[in-house]
Symmetry: C2
Subunit: 237 residues, 2 copies
């Protein structure tokens, strides 16, 4: 066992909560569950054991993986899973992240997307690793609800999924989010944390701005994406 | 010079961007600017120098504070400031954070609040240090736009500022944010990251929920606060 690397075939759900999310919502990809010697026996452990038995997922009792994979002191359970390829659907609404660079931000966006019922995520590379244990952790397990497709350019994405409404979120956009009526199926598109979307996106569909005061330069990326998700889906909840 | 501690009278804006925010928006509290030997001379440096001269703030050329205060490699400028006491106003809308525990989250909420024109922040202790350099950094300097009052209980806050609409955000609330019409002046109230607001807040004003799917347990705190801020203020932008 080695430290996690992007090229690995498996990744990890660190902690009992994330491991349960894995086993409940993506059991077909779960490969192993590691249990630390300090994990308390009790209701959670029994539930985990019977779930593993039922799903035929081996449990391994060893402290070593924890020293290698986890920095947190109170992590006594790790779910190992095979990285999955579950492409986004043509009829669904998408969140598109163009060159996202921060694992925590990507995970937080996954959590909000799942929260607002959008379970299809498109990633345009270069991008941070969506299977990084840090992403999984920030997603609070929402990753296990998602379909995810990765493309090396926006053009490539459009070729396969172009027949939809495109809403790139940009500071230079004219249409205010609060005045927008989304048409389905749509893609909400967000740029990199530091640089936003390139100007070329002004020509893609309807560009949208979340207007704010001039006291700040911009909103934090997961904040902007979550506000957009809230506004686009609020009639559904 | 020592590492930052909560009981110190001064705190620090790490990096050139934050230092400019300090000098522009809270110059009366700026006490010193530290310059690292690797800071490039050029437009930014000249602007900083003339601003310090104009405001009569001493510049100190020394690498030592950077070793003590900054973990970031590319931080070549630090603005030192006296912690300020600038109470919230009775006529203004407030964001109230009840027992917030994470500096990054608090800073992100400051950034969103300033972005949506709410510049009065109330903190109910126990709470993370709102002057911690990590908070300042996550706020992207928004802290320097804010009035902030700290109370040791919600009751104490109400005694002084009670004559207003209270909107506690809670998963048990009945009123949906998307159906809420806020009345001014108001307080948007948010609980701790892990535990939310205590049930007693169901009896304070109008409790509000940001409805979402059952795929997640809750939204991340700064996400929830920012969505609420967006919805409450969107007619102003």
């Amino acid at each position: 066992m080695k430290r996690y690397r992007r090229e690995d075939e498996v990744s990890y759900a660190l902690g009992i909560t994330l491991t349960f999310e894995l086993l409940k919502f993506s059991p077909e990809y779960a490969t192993k569950v590691y249990i630390h010697s300090q994990m308390q026996r009790g209701e959670s452990f029994d539930k985990l054991s019977s779930l593993c038995k039922e799903l035929k997922i081996p449990m391994e009792f060893s402290d070593k993986p924890f020293n290698i994979l986890s920095q947190k002191e109170n992590c006594f359970c790790i779910g190992e899973f095979k990285k999955f390829d579950r492409p986004v659907s043509k009829g669904a609404n998408h969140v598109v992240l163009h060159n996202p660079s921060n694992a925590g931000n990507m995970g937080t966006i996954m959590r909000s997307a799942a929260g607002f019922g959008i379970t299809d995520l498109v990633i345009i590379t270069p991008a941070v690793d969506h299977f990084d244990p840090k992403t999984v952790r920030a997603s609070m397990g929402a990753l296990f609800h998602l379909n995810i497709s990765v493309f090396s350019s926006f053009e490539e994405y459009k070729e396969q999924y172009g027949n939809r409404e495109m809403y790139p979120f940009m500071l230079k956009a004219k249409k205010k989010l609060s005045e927008l009526k989304v048409k389905k199926p749509y893609s909400l598109i967000f740029g990199n944390e530091a640089t936003g979307l390139p100007d070329s996106f002004l020509n893609e569909g309807t560009s949208v701005i979340i207007s704010h005061s001039n006291r700040i330069d911009s909103l934090n990326l997961p904040i902007a994406a979550s506000i957009a998700l809230y506004e686009a889906t609020k009639e559904d909840f």
